[in-house]
């Protein structure tokens, strides 16, 4: 067995030189002072591989176009076994990658490991940092939820403010009007096709340069060396394991954000970038008006240039940490500045307002809905909206939960959205609803009354009441009667009817109003048996309302028309 293995190894070695190559790589001599402080580079490479791997797996079930992207991501997370974990790893891996890359850089900076002759290694490293940020920026759009959309709108707006190239960049990114398919395709291609090969190349170059100059020793280290394997590889592996455990736990335990589908008409949305861009975001806020350019373009450019130039500013041979007061000071100030800006940005982020009150009166029971809205429930059921939309809480469906999203919309928005969903929400998979305007407006009336608190109660409206409300609307009863505060006040308000009248009386009144009062203005109605049944059931279910306006209306009506007494 052993001889067979030896034979195989010899055969491969003779043909490819693989064994020698691996041995050269593993048994490299490194300074005796190498140790735990140098593990971060390896961890960063490992995390890059995890990102590549999980990204590749996600691509198997991801549709890279607006709208579809969102739905497919939801599908990955809710339908596929392990899908939630894959996205969790990819999402949190991005954040962890930033942490590790910056730590790596800080270590190199503090230990002066960028000094001659390692300037090129440092510069390539800065390039890799920028690439890591570029992944974060382009990947942010790919879920195509509200967060992705609005975050990217802000990003492209900033790009458009760049001097000279601003308008060109805007056209290049396809973000003149708003962002859509063009921007999405550009970001996707950058994220998965262009950036990975560049990154791979720079990583290889970086490792080559590290190998060429040898691992940087600590200042006191003279002479003795040790082998890369297994001493340092062990330390690297332990560090990688710790990082991976942290990532895995986050992917399993921490909720990965996926907001609702990108909504370009959502004026209330407060866009915020990913946490590692918050400091930039906050910097922008410091500069207003003509100075804005300073924050958007000048300072970031200077910062990148400064980073690149670090090895050339600092050419002293001194590497001892305690004597590098300037370097320490700069790093300390940068850390404090970064933390300060980030914390300020987090603290000043307003909580997303859920403005149920702005939507008008809140209704907590279907019986208190105006008939129009109740009719809307009918269309909601007829059109099977619940196939894709949740009202109350429950398993997420393909469309957004309407109880939490409707309150922020206007009726006009809803009507337009029903007629042509993709005109307002590009990429949505919602089919157009083929109803006429008055029917659509009923549907909108219902949705506008929805809140997370009352969704279940409203959903529970019995069919017979909905049917009754439809008869009520079809016969335009609302032109004379008020129900739940809506409708005209020519006839008596109908709330609390059951306390005043019997079923038979109401039926007779509808069929032949003259039978109860010869002076009534109410015309007779010819309704079918079932129409009459549902209308009367509905009317008798209306609660008595203590609302002042309706009480007043009743007395006014009584005075003006001397209609049959209500009591």
């Amino acid at each position: 067995m052993n001889s067979l293995k030896d034979h195989l190894v010899r055969w491969v070695e003779h043909r490819t030189g693989l064994e020698t190559a691996i041995k050269n790589f593993l048994y490299e001599e490194i300074p005796a002072s190498s140790g735990w402080h140098q593990v971060f580079g390896s961890v960063a490479v490992f995390l890059f591989l995890v990102q590549a791997f999980t990204g590749l797996l996600l691509a198997f079930n991801y549709a890279p176009t607006p709208g579809e992207a969102y739905n497919s991501l939801k599908y990955i997370m809710s339908e596929l076994t392990g899908g939630h974990l894959m996205r969790g790893l990819h999402h949190w891996g991005a954040s962890l990658m930033i942490v590790v890359v910056v730590t790596h850089m800080t270590q190199v900076f503090l230990f002066g490991a960028y000094k001659k002759p390692r300037e090129a290694t440092w510069i390539v490293g800065v390039g890799l940092l920028l690439l890591t940020l570029a992944y974060g920026l382009t990947g942010y759009l790919l879920p195509w939820d509200n967060r992705a959309y609005w975050g990217t709108v802000v990003t492209t707006q900033i790009a458009s403010k760049a001097p000279l190239v601003g308008s060109y960049l805007t056209r290049l990114l396809g973000s003149e009007q708003s962002i859509g398919v063009v921007t999405f395709a550009r970001f996707y291609a950058l994220h998965v096709l262009l950036l990975p090969p560049i990154t791979s190349f720079l990583i290889l170059l970086h490792i080559y340069l590290v190998r060429k100059h040898g691992v940087a020793p600590l200042p006191d280290d003279r002479g003795a060396t040790k082998k890369f394997f297994p001493e340092q590889v062990f330390k690297d592996t332990v560090a990688i394991f710790v990082a991976f455990m942290a990532l895995f736990v986050m992917a399993v335990a921490v909720k990965v954000p996926l907001e609702r589908l990108a909504d370009p008409t959502d004026t209330a949305y407060i866009p915020r970038p990913e946490w590692y861009f918050l400091f930039l975001f906050q910097t922008l806020k410091l500069f207003e008006g003509p100075l804005e350019l300073l924050g958007t373009v000048v300072l970031p450019t200077l910062a990148i240039l400064a980073l690149l130039m670090v090895p050339f500013f600092d050419r002293g041979a001194c590497k001892r940490l305690a004597q590098r007061t300037v370097a320490l000071g700069v790093a300390g100030l940068a850390a404090i500045g970064w933390a300060g800006l980030t914390v300020t940005a987090i603290v000043t982020t307003p909580k997303t307002p859920i403005s149920t009150e702005e939507a008008g009166t809140t209704v907590n029971d279907w019986q208190h809905l105006p008939p129009e809205a109740l009719v809307g429930i009918g269309y909601f059921r007829e059109e099977r909206c619940a196939t894709c939309h949740n009202l109350a809480e429950g398993t997420p469906r393909i469309g957004p939960n309407l109880a939490t999203t409707s309150v922020r919309k206007s009726p006009a928005w809803m009507m337009e959205h029903f007629r042509n969903p993709s005109s307002l929400v590009p990429g949505t998979s919602m089919p157009p609803i083929h109803l006429d305007d008055s029917q659509l407006s009923s549907l909108a009336a219902f949705l506008l009354k929805l809140t997370p608190q009352n969704a279940r109660a409203l959903e529970a409206a019995p069919d017979v009441a909905v049917a009754g409300a439809m008869v009520f609307k079809a016969n335009q009863c609302g032109t004379c009667h008020t129900v739940n505060g809506e409708g005209m006040k020519i006839g008596p308000a109908l709330n609390g009817l059951s306390q005043r009248r019997s079923k038979e009386w109401v039926e007779e009144q509808i069929r032949n109003p003259q039978s109860h009062s010869s002076e009534t203005m109410m015309p007779p109605y010819k309704l079918s048996q079932s129409e009459m049944e549902s209308l009367v059931t509905y009317l008798l279910s209306l609660p008595a309302v203590k609302s002042l306006s309706i009480a007043q209306a009743n007395s006014e009506v009584l005075e003006r028309f001397q209609l049959p007494s209500l009591n």
Binding site: N71, L80, G82, G83, P230, T237, F244, S429
Partner: protein
Amino acid sequence: MTEEQTKDRRNFLVMAIYGLGALIGAALAVPATVYLLWPPRPKKQEWVEAGSLTPLQPKVPEEMVFRRNRADGWKITSEKATAWVVKMSQKDIIAFAPQCPHLGCAYHWEVQNKEFLCPCHASRFSLEGDVLSGPSPRPLDRYEVKIEGEKLLLGPVYSPKEQRS
């Protein structure tokens, strides 16, 4: 350190590297394999309203056309679907899926012969969907049926032969 100790330490380090590496590899490979190779749970076909039973004549098949939502991965498409519906009695309604069980052609009802005929390979089926002649391997597939008042609701498709066995 003696040479023996150095060797032990080295062995420990190498084992630790392999061990931790294997743990990470497994933690990535197992979920990845499941994710890639485990097909998602099939969606239960929802009950869908096919139409009214009122216009149906007893024992005369009618082709009913209705719309139903089909889940295709992350996409839900609304598509037209048909069913051949037979009212055997007031309570007993059969709804056949519109494809011949042989190769999936659309068959139709021959009014004169009082049988279903598939134009592709001339499979013939009785009013109950049983094969009279031709290459069809089994009787016509059926929708599960629910009746609500005069409304006919259709569910998933099944093969009556499998159901019986």
